[in-house]
């Protein structure tokens, strides 16, 4: 028999067999579709979000959040008012400040309303998110909370139970052994191959398949869950029989109390569900609360404007390019005839060249005019920079630059939509991406701009907006819950009080960094992207360029960082438990925390003051709770 056939057969048997077992497991554990019980209006004790899970075959859909919102209104924690005929004009009014006894996901929905409300009021269509990552995170946490509640009630369980997962992991090792056998068989025939190939094949296959086996695959029914689901599906049949119910607006919770919430959970409230949305919002029609009231602002995002977002240098260069090309066309439009015919243009007979020359001439004049116009507008643009203050409506990446094959593209320009309260329409500004770190939707900002090119030159946050208010205190608990739900939670940590979080902003002030580097530095910003180390950037006041990055690491990460960086550094005696400098880097270690300072950009080379900065940071490591960050200064 062909030895290659044996190799292939073993691999197919191993991996194919495992995939087949996985498929069978999926088939056998698929959530049930209970038959609806007798149609009737009786409500049970389960909350609407859990009912939504049961009615949607053990899947949490966006109905859960909407039903919870309606339920909060039905239970009078909120009030929904509709001022006109259009249900989309419904507003949400907070009624009970900080009510007790709410479930985690109900609290999450209520917190969202509370964070967005201005004067206790928020339009129902303004509850959508403006940041996709935030929306996904919020929905994920809510989903985990609903699933946890359903499991507590005994109505739901993990689709792949421990027995299924264990069996699949065992099969993964069998599959790994078969693949290793194939690799060993191949290695016997190929003396050049590494002897460790079977082991690598076994390890890679086993781990990959075992990892897939342990992956969260959703929820499934329990016997109690099936009974309860059947009862609720009976209510769904009942509500479906009432055609008017589907057309009820959200404000009708005043009359229908919790029925509307359960209707939304069961998917029978067409109008209410159309109006309510707790997902991503519309970037072109955004609610603004600037000035104290709520207004809807239409936002335009230019894509094909040749001047949009360009720097002064680029604008002038392009203008000169147009002017130069126009001038060349006007002055030298008859040269091609001369080159091609070898005749003096004055003496050459009339022909097709006449038309081309005329067209070239007209084009040249047009380009001259356009280039001149652009140059004048550019100069006016440079001379008429303006400062506007308003609310950030939307921030979104627009253009990015490639950084080579192995690196992801780097954002260059962001759209920044700001409502300054003067009109219900606006055009987004083009903001250099580094400035994006400083602002979030809902913040009140002062922006220095060039109106014609729509470029943002500088940005200052005047008041932090709703984003800060939405930082929920429940998020740590929710993340632990997600880990438990997905089956990825580690051992439970002892219930000890956490030490206050140490960041660059609690260790150094802008004044101190400014003094040390001799550069005006603004209040530090935490990095917007998650990083293994707590990272804070100190940036220049004028161009917002990073000059110093402060990284803080604790625990195992801190130990590793210390060991890696202290090996080749120069010791700086007398600072905390130890301190080193190495080129533009310096680090200090105190009570298990490692602080790493790195000079960047204009800050590079200004190393002489690094030890002083280390001393300041080490001094605050003992009492990090007090924020050290101040305003921008030299």
């Amino acid at each position: 028999m062909d030895p290659r056939l044996i190799d292939t057969g073993l691999i197919v048997l191993g991996i194919g067999g495992w995939l087949l077992a996985y498929g069978v497991a999926l088939l056998l554990t698929r959530p049930a579709s209970p038959r609806p019980g007798p149609a009737g209006p009786d409500l049970g004790s389960e909350p609407p979000a859990v009912v939504s899970l049961l009615a949607n075959r053990w899947e949490v859909t966006e109905d859960a959040a909407e039903a919870s919102l309606l339920d909060l209104a039905g239970r009078r924690y909120l009030e929904l008012r509709q001022p006109g005929d259009d249900p989309r004009q419904t507003t949400v009014h907070l009624r009970t400040p900080g009510p007790a006894g709410l479930r985690a996901y109900e609290r999450r929905v209520l917190d969202r309303v509370g964070a967005l409300a201005v004067g206790g009021v928020v339009p129902v269509t303004a509850l959508t998110f403006r940041d996709e990552r935030q929306a996904k995170q919020w929905a994920k946490r809510l989903r985990a909370e609903v699933v946890a509640e359903a499991r507590t009630l005994g109505l739901s369980r993990r689709r792949f139970g421990p027995a299924v997962v264990s069996s699949l992991i065992a099969l993964a090792f069998v599959a790994g052994a078969l693949v290793a056998a194939a690799a060993g068989h191949y290695a016997l025939r190929s003396p050049d191959e590494d002897a460790g190939l079977p082991f690598i094949a076994f390890l890679f296959t086993s781990l990959a398949l075992a990892g897939a086996a342990g992956r969260y695959t959703g929820e499934r029914d329990t016997p109690a869950g099936r009974d309860v689901a059947a009862r609720w599906l009976g209510l769904r049949e009942w509500l479906r029989g009432h055609e008017e119910f589907a057309a009820l607006p959200p404000a009708s919770t005043t009359v229908w109390d919790r029925y509307l919430a359960y209707g939304a959970a069961l998917g029978v409230t067409r109008v209410a569900s159309e109006v309510l949305d707790l997902g991503m919002g519309n970037r072109r029609l955004v609610w603004s609360s600037y000035g104290g009231g709520w207004r809807r602002v239409r936002v335009r995002y230019p894509r094909f404007w040749s001047r949009y977002g360009l720097t002064a240098q680029h604008l002038i260069t392009r203008s000169l390019l147009y002017l130069g090309t126009g001038l060349l066309l006007v002055l030298y439009r008859d040269r091609p005839r001369q080159w091609l015919t070898g005749l003096d243009p004055e003496l050459a007979p009339p022909g097709p060249f006449d038309v081309a020359e005329r067209v070239g001439g007209v084009l040249g004049v047009l380009l001259l005019g356009y280039g001149g116009y652009r140059l004048i507008r550019t100069l006016i643009d440079l001379a008429t920079e303006r400062t506007i203050t308003g609310e950030v409506l939307w921030v979104e990446e627009w253009r990015s630059a490639s950084r080579g094959q192995d690196s992801p593209p780097e954002p260059v320009l962001h759209y920044l939509a700001v409502d300054d309260g003067t009109a219900d329409r606006t055009t987004a500004w083009a903001m250099p991406s580094p400035l994006r770190w400083g602002c979030h939707d809902g913040d009140t900002v002062t922006v220095r701009v060039r109106r014609w090119s729509r470029r943002v030159l500088n940005l200052q946050v005047v008041t932090a907006g709703r984003r800060n208010r939405m930082e929920s205190t429940m998020d740590d608990a929710a993340d632990q819950m997600i880990a438990v739900t997905m089956g990825t939670a580690g051992p439970r940590l002892p219930d000890v009080k956490r030490p206050p979080r140490v960041t660059g902003a609690t260790l150094l002030t802008a004044e101190e960094v400014g003094q040390a580097l001799g550069i005006p530095v603004r209040t530090p910003e935490a990095s917007p992207v998650p990083m293994p180390l707590g990272t804070t950037y100190f940036t220049t006041v004028d161009k917002n360029r990073a000059v110093l990055v402060v990284q803080v690491a604790q625990g195992a990460t801190g130990d590793f960082t210390w060991r890696m960086n202290s090996r080749r550094g120069t010791a700086v005696p007398g600072i905390a438990d130890g301190a080193y400098t190495r080129g533009d880097r310096a680090m200090v270690r105190s009570a298990g925390t490692t602080v790493l300072l790195t000079l960047l950009g204009k800050g590079k080379g200004r190393r002489q003051h690094l030890p002083w900065l280390l001393t300041q940071a080490a001094g605050r490591l003992a009492a990090p709770a007090t924020p050290a960050a101040g305003g921008a200064a030299v």
């Binding site: 149609a39 209006p41 001022p83 006109g84 404000a251 009359v255």
Partner: protein, 194 residues
Amino acid sequence: MDNFGLLVTLGAVALVLILLIGWAISTYNRLVRQRNQVKASWAQIDVQLKRRYDLIPNLVETVKGYAAHERGTLDAVVAARGAAMAAAGGGASGVADRAEAEHLLTQALGRLFALAEAYPDLKASHNFAALQSELANTEDKIAYARQFYNSAVQTLTNSIQSFPSSLIAGMGGFRPPDYYEVAGGERGPVQVRF
């Protein structure tokens, strides 16, 4: 050519007729479905009202144990219950008469509960508290059942009175049912803020 024209005309007429018959059947079935929904919703009201009738004798007996001399109020409740049951079982009465009888019973019960305020021992009685809670729960269910009934009535009435479904409703003998309207209301006035 003539035959072909005739065939086309006949085909078109047949198609129109089929569509018309299909629409008529669909409309009739829809009306039947809506009428059944009205009946089912009424049945829900009926269930809750009967539950209330069953609770009242116990309530009267409990009150008698603490306030036997309040005979007038107790007799009024018993009489109102009897009248409501007669209206329910008589068959001749319509929804309006039934609603009126239930309204009188609700008022009589209201007076009975007001009476309890003057008798601390009665108010402290577990049996009385349980019955009061049960009755309040039943009143809530009656209120919701009434909303569902009126919603179903509205849907059927709209279908009966709207053109062209009114043609089928007329031929099928469908009549708009009465709304269940309560003069005082089992529940307090609803504060709808628009």
